[in-house]
Amino acid sequence: MKIIKVKDLGFKYAGTDFYAIRGVNLEIDEGEFVVLAGKSGCGKTTLLRCLNGLIPHFYEGEFEGRVLIDGVDTRECPPHILSQKAGMVFQNPDNQLFALSVEADIAFPLENLGLPREEIRDRVEWALKLLGIEELRKRSPFELSAGQKQKVAIASVLAMKPKILLLDEPTSSLDPVSAKNLIDAIIDLNRRHGLTILISEHRLTHLIPHADKLAIMDGGRIIYFDDPRRILKEDVLMYGISIPRVVEVAREMRRIGGCIPFRDIPLSVEEFISGLKGALR
């Protein structure tokens, strides 16, 4: 089932004279893991804002086309209802956290929904466990590391029980180990809990081997939307994407050798080594 349907979508922010995105068509299946890439200013953030209803409900401008999230037209559905279908995590977790404890932060939107106390407690518990941050529950969000803060931000979004998780460059300010931990947690949400994931990132190394689809945007449009193995066979560097280094090496091997000992472009060190060993056999 297509949980996200975008038809001829365009948006021009009020006060600007160009469309940030235009002619965007996109269909995503429930449970898919989609990575959104492209250079700065290509429209990634605007597209994500359209998917959780921040556009057109919060940002003013000219909206065209249609976005259906789990069958609901975003123009006809208020953001607080949409956030129970598609939750969004931003680049800077500080903008999303404000309460005195991690628990209170996660509970806050649930209290706003007017849920019964037990339900809130259960959901907070569930979200803490999902991200493996039970031990942080009593801590103040502001004394946590950047990576821990981002996990709390995700937990507070997940407590709304959305089917879709949208993430806008969530690891960009994290050091490599924290970034990888966060990505592992996001992959786990997809694999074990069936969440549909749409994540925009510049650093693709740890993400791309797990992606079902890669979407590349340029100039407000989606240029590619396919299995990353198929896309990365082509030269997509001009779209400002930092492809994994193993892909660069494999492509270069093919260039100088005419052919490569791989059937598929390897997306990780593991795949590269097993491809090479297979060819030597």
Binding site: Q91, S145, V177, S178, H202, S242, R245
Partner: protein, 271 residues
């Protein structure tokens, strides 16, 4: 020449951010300060132009103790590009923003005009000269912050986490800028945890953890030591990890550029 001598720094809230830093950076070096979030990288950079002064020990810039001079006088020698450029903008246009420091240094209008033009052309900002800095995108703001420092051409340029939020094209541009500045004899200091970017640059690496220098060496030496990197919340560049697993075709672990590694592998296949 930059010298840190047993430098300690404690923030007013009691957090000890630098805990005995001894470090010497010679003229014309490129040095990457690496380490996890909170290791003390930014605090160290803020000591270069006297924005922060040591609580203990001292920092010498070309022999001058930073405690004895003003930030303004050090700024002529040391330019810092901060992680969040919004904090430094206040002019009405990109052009004015770049010109501001130059006028403060007392250059005459003709020199100011020439330098501003060079800097904004070089950073691909010519089309934005009349726009307000606050209307720029994140990546453009970062380029503006760098243009401002390039315009007054200090001997020492420090970049605080310059690759955060930058796409590949911007990173390549940044790499070129750093190499160009270095070829002009400038000292470039970069704080970063972007291992792939630093792997392309191959500078000297100073590794920090909890306010201390835990390692200091060339990029290859540091990146080959996975245990050390992980203790600082860093991971090796992907091609180090790959080269370590290619011993079965006789390839030694090294910090290869992608093309070189591809060529190495292919020669073994042709045999």
């Amino acid at each position: 020449m930059i010298r840190f001598e047993s430098v300690e720094y404690v923030y007013p809230n009691g957090v000890k951010a630098l805990d005995g830093i001894d470090l010497e950076i010679r003229d014309g070096e490129i040095v990457a300060i690496m380490g996890e979030n909170g290791a003390g990288k930014t605090t160290l950079i803020k000591h270069l132009n006297g924005l922060l002064k040591p609580v203990k020990g001292r920092v010498l810039i070309d022999g001058v103790d930073t405690r004895n001079v003003t930030v303004a006088s050090l700024s002529k020698k040391v330019g810092i590009v901060f992680q969040n450029p919004d904090d430094m903008f206040f002019s009405e246009s990109v052009w004015e923003e770049v010109a501001f420091a130059l006028r403060n240094f007392g250059y005459d209008e003709e020199v100011v005009r020439r330098r501003v033009e060079n800097a904004i052309n070089f950073m691909d900002l010519a089309g934005y000269a009349d726009k307000s800095p606050f209307t720029l995108s994140g990546g453009e703001k970062k380029r503006l912050a760098l243009a401002i420092v390039l315009a007054w051409s200090p001997d020492i340029i420090a970049l605080d986490e310059p690759t955060i939020g930058q796409d590949m094209l911007q990173k390549e541009k940044l790499l070129q800028v750093i190499k160009l500045l270095n070829s002009q004899g400038k000292t470039v200091i970069i704080s970063s945890h972007d291992v792939e970017f630093i792997a392309d640059l191959k500078p000297r690496i100073v590794l920090m953890k909890r306010g201390r220098v835990v390692a200091d060496g060339d990029a290859e030496e540091i990146f080959l030591n996975e245990e050390l990197l992980r203790s600082c919340n860093l991971l090796p560049p992907q091609l180090i990890t790959l080269s370590k697993r290619l011993d079965f075709i006789g390839i030694k672990p090294r910090l290869y550029p992608p093309r070189e590694l591809a060529a190495e592998i292919m020669t073994r296949f042709r045999r």
